[in-house]
Point group: C2
Chain length 145, copies 2
DNA sequence: CTCCAATGATTGCATTTTGCAAGTGATTGC
DNA sequence: GCAATCACTTGCAAAATGCAATCATTGGAG
């Protein structure tokens, strides 16, 4: 948690720059948990089925906050509780997550239960993703974007 | 390059299963090079701006072939040359790549030159991705899917 | 008050992955 | 022949990851 802007990007290619932010096995799972399970607290992310460890989770949360995908705030009721929110930048990762879901449901041995939300989104047509993003904005962005 | 099917997936979640295939900093760059630069040979991937090293490239190509995203064949003209092709599964990664491109062009300091192809695709409307996939099928899948 | 469980982390250490340079064996061009 | 080119492989240092234990703070119970 120190360097503010020393980024020597590997290249200016859009695909590469995206992968530099979330191109690992954990970051998008955190985003997924915020989007589809309403998780906001450290302990909640820790409880996910994939079993992320505390140091990796702390590292990824810090990197996502630094990248501007999440914000971190103290819970007003519990000073110990940190509460994480998606930014507009984070909410706009939903189309990417939705396309990954669609690809995996077509080509990977997904759990039918876990595939249900994605299938419902597909049945909802093109507007479903936009509607889901609007719902996330109402929860994570208190009015202001 | 040995275990054929011992995969104890971290979970059956579609997002997770996708990330297990291409959730790293290099795999989607190889796919990108095949899609947008027409690269098919080891040396061509090696020449990309991001500077992948030979062992990582060999490892990723093997993993992508094993996952069914790519196929590997000997070049009939040059026995030394291996030629890699996208499968239908690989071609259908284009919507994911396109959404990553769109997100990065909105939120990351992309190189305007490299952003041009993505911008053109966006201007082409919803059919542009499908058309690009059709073009890839004609090059990579000789008739048969 | 004191104790104690719960919070979001940090630390130490073994294992795994990555990055880099050099080398390998099989072909091809001259 | 003989150097150049091809797709890799190998060795080794550095970085990232995984795991368990631990930390400091806080809020609540007694």
């Amino acid at each position: 948690m120190e360097n503010s802007e020393a980024s020597p990007h590997r290249s200016g290619c859009p695909i590469n720059l995206g992968l530099e932010v979330f191109g690992d096995k954990w970051s998008l799972l955190i985003v997924r948990d915020m989007m589809f399970s309403g998780k906001r607290h450290f302990r909640e992310f820790l409880a996910s089925e994939e079993g992320i460890s505390t140091n990796i989770l702390a590292d990824r949360l810090a990197k996502l906050v630094e990248a501007g995908v999440l914000t971190r705030a103290g819970d007003p009721a519990h000073k110990l509780k940190a509460i994480y929110s998606l930014t507009e930048m984070g909410i706009e990762l939903l189309p990417i997550v939705a396309e990954i879901s669609r690809w995996s449901r077509k080509y990977q041995p997904v759990d039918p239960v876990m595939a249900a939300t994605g299938e419902a989104r597909d049945r909802g047509g093109p507007g479903a993703v936009a509607a889901q993003m609007e719902a996330l904005r109402r929860v994570h962005l208190n009015g202001e974007i």
